[in-house]
């Protein structure tokens, strides 16, 4: 019974409903471009977030919502005068609706070269446990 339900969720994940973008957007931040991949046992969210320091990244899962917030400090503030600007500097934000097929407590993330990679492992269906019956 339990296994069936899980399978159904995994199936619906394949169609993309497990990691789908949420409509909530904040005006004060940039929408980081992302790639989302799905393998047999996990989802992978890869986001371009240049100029973020490691302690400025906050990833949270709440209410079936995966939220990625990255604080970008205004590095020009004490640096000098901006003479020419083609891109802005602001925080990055992105959020996704995730299904219950994701094991929230096992989510891990890695940041290097300005790219954030979030791994969301799928819930492993509980294996049927064989109970040995002993004779008295």
């Amino acid at each position: 019974m339990t296994t069936n339900t899980t399978n159904k969720q995994i199936n619906s994940c394949t169609t993309g409903t497990c990691v789908s973008e949420s409509a909530i957007k904040r005006p004060q931040s940039y929408r980081a471009p992302v790639d989302v991949y799905e393998t047999e046992d996990r989802y992978l969210v890869v986001a371009d977030m240049p100029g973020v320091s490691l302690d400025g990244i906050e990833i949270s899962v709440e209410d079936k919502m995966l939220t990625i917030d990255a604080t970008v400090e205004d590095r020009y503030l004490d640096l000098g005068r901006v003479r020419h600007q083609e891109y802005g500097i602001a925080d990055f934000h992105r959020s996704f609706r995730i299904g219950s097929g994701i094991s929230a407590e096992d989510i891990v993330a890695d940041y290097s070269d300005g790219v954030l990679q979030v791994t969301l492992p799928k819930v492993v269906p509980a294996k049927a446990r064989r109970i040995e019956v002993r004779t008295a």
């Binding site: 993309g16 991949y37 047999e40 371009d48 000098g80 083609e86 891109y87 070269d113 300005g114």
Partner: protein
């Protein structure tokens, strides 16, 4: 009564550099498409002509570009005849046996070049890549440097 002007207008190297920096955008050899759009981040952050920001300091001019997912080995910064060129490749790793659900990041070969104003980049140019940000530091020539004058409050 005639007043003699002791200070002549700054038609020297400093203001020339200022003007040239201000007009940098007009002089770019390969203008950025993203520069015309209000929010470059609504697009893929890596484009064929990367966007740049220019910051002026007392001693240097910094040219900065966002390069997420670009490693130093795939990036080249060069100067030929006062033309500064930033070029390279951004690769997007493929994951084995993975299905792509969403794709907003692209693998791209990029190039951007522009003419350096007089007064910068004659000396050693340094470039660094940190957290996906490329910063090229162009030292100003002695004439164009800003010397801050300390003000004593009495």
């Amino acid at each position: 009564m005639t007043t003699r002007t002791m200070l002549t207008p700054a038609s020297n190297a400093v203001s020339n550099l200022r003007n040239e920096l201000d007009r940098l955008f007009d002089r770019v050899a390969t203008p950025s498409l993203g520069a015309m759009l209000p929010h470059p981040h609504f697009l893929d952050s890596m484009r064929a002509n990367p966007a740049i920001n220019v910051i002026e300091r007392d001693d240097t001019v910094i040219v900065e570009a966002e390069m997420p997912g670009v490693s130093a080995k795939d990036l080249e910064v060069s100067i030929t005849d006062r033309i500064l060129t930033i070029e390279g490749t951004r690769n997007v790793e493929l994951i084995d046996n993975a299905e792509t659900i969403r794709r907003e990041r692209s693998a791209v070969r990029f190039e951007r070049s522009f003419r350096l104003p007089e007064g910068v980049g004659d000396e050693t140019i340094e470039a660094s890549l940190e957290n996906g940000i490329l910063a090229i530091e162009l030292p100003k020539s002695d004439l164009c440097r800003t010397h801050r004058v300390a003000i004593t409050q009495r």
